[in-house]
Amino acid sequence: MSKLNLDFNLVAEARKSAKVIADDIQLMIDQHTTVAVERTVVRLLGIDGVDDIERPLPNVIVDEIKDKGGLSMGLAYWIGNAMIETGKTPQEIAEAVAAGELDLMQLNQNDALKVQAVVTEKAKEMVAIIANNRKDRDAYLERLGEGPKPYLYLIVATGNIYEDVLQAQAAARQGADVIAVIRTTGQSLLDFVPYGPTTEGFGGTYATQENFKIMRKALDEVGEEIGRYIRLCNYCSGLCMPEIAAMGAFERLDVMLNDALYGILFRDINMQRTLIDQYFSRIINGFAGVIINTGEDNYLTTADAVEEAHTVLTSQFINEQFALNAGLPEEQMGLGHCFEMNPNIENGFLMELAQAQMAREIFPDAPLKYMPPTKYMTGNIFKGHVQNTLFNAVSIMTNQGIQLLGMLTEAIHTPFLQDRALSIENAKYVFSNMKDLGSEIEFKKDGIIQKRAQEVLNDSVKMLKEIEEEGLTNSIAKGKFAEVKRTMTSGKGLEGVVKKDDKYFNPFIELMLGGQ
């Protein structure tokens, strides 16, 4: 039963609008591919490494095909064709290309069906690795168990993967359930993924496959020691969404930031590019059993949390439909929201409670990702610690899924070792002390809380209707989300978008979409 007395007919309407919105975009998505998608195909076929000037081989090979006009066929075709022609493995092929010894488009071109058969066989092999990783995760969870929800989600962000490991292990021992390695500033705008272990970064650490591997190992170790599986999180946002999703699938990441609109709004990435990329990235996430975290919280770090609350809900509905289209089930949808109202607002807590409870009721199976106060955090660390306490209180009262712990030093620096310990202590105390408060209380009929939730839902239904009518891309162009305006052709990465040829082929979509 709804504690908020929500009208679920409205919720159904909202979902219907969102589906129309997402399906409309899906038409565009289905007709295009991108350099990132193709680099991902290449990675999924087993290609990795860098050339002698540190260019990642997936970039080398995709750029070459693109420059020569072959991208619309899809890399799977060119690699498959080369496998037939040269008898080499994809990795050997890539190395040969990088060495300038092989020109894929100069090879004799085999019949598409034949190529598809060869490449699908290789793809199945690789997909099995990912399926196995998923089984490994299940086995760990079975054997070691996990912390209760809300999971305690902690970030590390030193820039140095080895220092990150120390901090992550400390956090795990203190009680963390999820460790997110924050990315260095600017990585999301790189049109390639750096290679190897890294020890330098600004406000975060490069997302590289080697860094994933190092952290995965460290968390498995500490998980064994403390008897609790520790989830690893990283970001598949930015210009390399699907590539990083693939890397995450190979290295058994458990959680990945992945939002259909975030790159557009907050990184000024071209909309076509991001929308196409997100589709493939979510197919991979879905298949790998990765929980995605969407970025609705970001709206309220820019726009006002009271006035713009309905944009969060709207975006959650849209993200949900995009995820469903990519075969990602509700259980893996860590839809984002946040506690970002001005602390000076009288009864602000009641409104936050309304919003959190509303998200809970509307997405009952989603492991909601709840973000802490950041915008109104100040250098007053003591007050900040109290703001985080109320945030934790809302979370336990509304049964959130993943609690991104607030840091008392949010306005000052990326977390110190002790900051994390204090945050964990704060959350654990609140979660235990108030454990069953949520199920013990009811909200007054037509009171402040119920009304607020109903109002936000109404506004969201209205907004979705409008978007349904004018289309998502036009709505974004008008600044409906986070007051940021972007157009179909503005933003970074448009040059990496290509219309598919009729013969375009990507074996992984079929192998991974919705399957396990």
């Binding site: 820039g159 120390l166 292990q169 400390a170 956090a171 795990a172 021992r173 203190q174 500033t185 600017g186 705008l189 600004f202 406000g203 907050f266 990184r267 000024d268 770090t301 820019t302 915008k375 306005a411 620096h413 990326t414 110190f416 070792l417 002790q418 310990a421």
Partner: protein, 250 residues
Amino acid sequence: MSSQVDLTKVKPYGDTLNDGRMQFSFTLPVPFGDEADEAAKQLLIKMGIEEPSIVYSEDLGVGYTFFTAYGKCQHTVDYSSIEVPKVDVEIMDKYGVEDFIKEHIKRDVVIVGACTGTDAHTVGIDAIMNMKGFDGHYGLERYHGIEAINMGSQVPNEELIAKAIELNADAIVVSQVVTQKDVHILNLTNMIELIEAEGLRDKIILICGGPRINHELAKELGYDAGFGPKTYAEHVASFVVNQIVDRNMI
């Protein structure tokens, strides 16, 4: 009577004048235990803290220990001799600025701004420049007599300067929020170098702002002014219009 503060020898105050009381928290990379507490105490003593008291220590799980401590600081500071450089202009409100422009400048003032480098934090520069403003204070875009162009975030210094040249701007305003590894200093310094290389330094008013910026730092780096937290559009506007008159840029 409660005793008088000697401003030439100021000491921290806990609950009695000159008791020197301070609170500390920090981590040492040593294992939890009595020896760790002792190490923490010794550190505080080296800092000039008498009677350091470790009131809490906690094992952080990786052989490191977190401490909270109190103690009595023995150092004093001569407050009476402190002088802090400040933006030296009388702050007018929006209407004041608008009247000032009408009366003294008699043309539109052009200000271009951005959050530069890899920094993507737009909220601060938006607060100063956009219509809506911040905290009930309208932004520059809403000022009659000011043409304000906000280029947004992650704008390379070169692009910002090019825009200023294109529009014959009176002032460039730069926001820097990310300060890790002093990336803001690098970025702000680079800006000055480019401006000077263009021979523009005297022809343009150069302002920076952000949560870790202050006027002193800005001056050191070669800017005309720097603004920190709680800045509103009227601060920037008042400074710019006065500079235009003072520097005879009319």
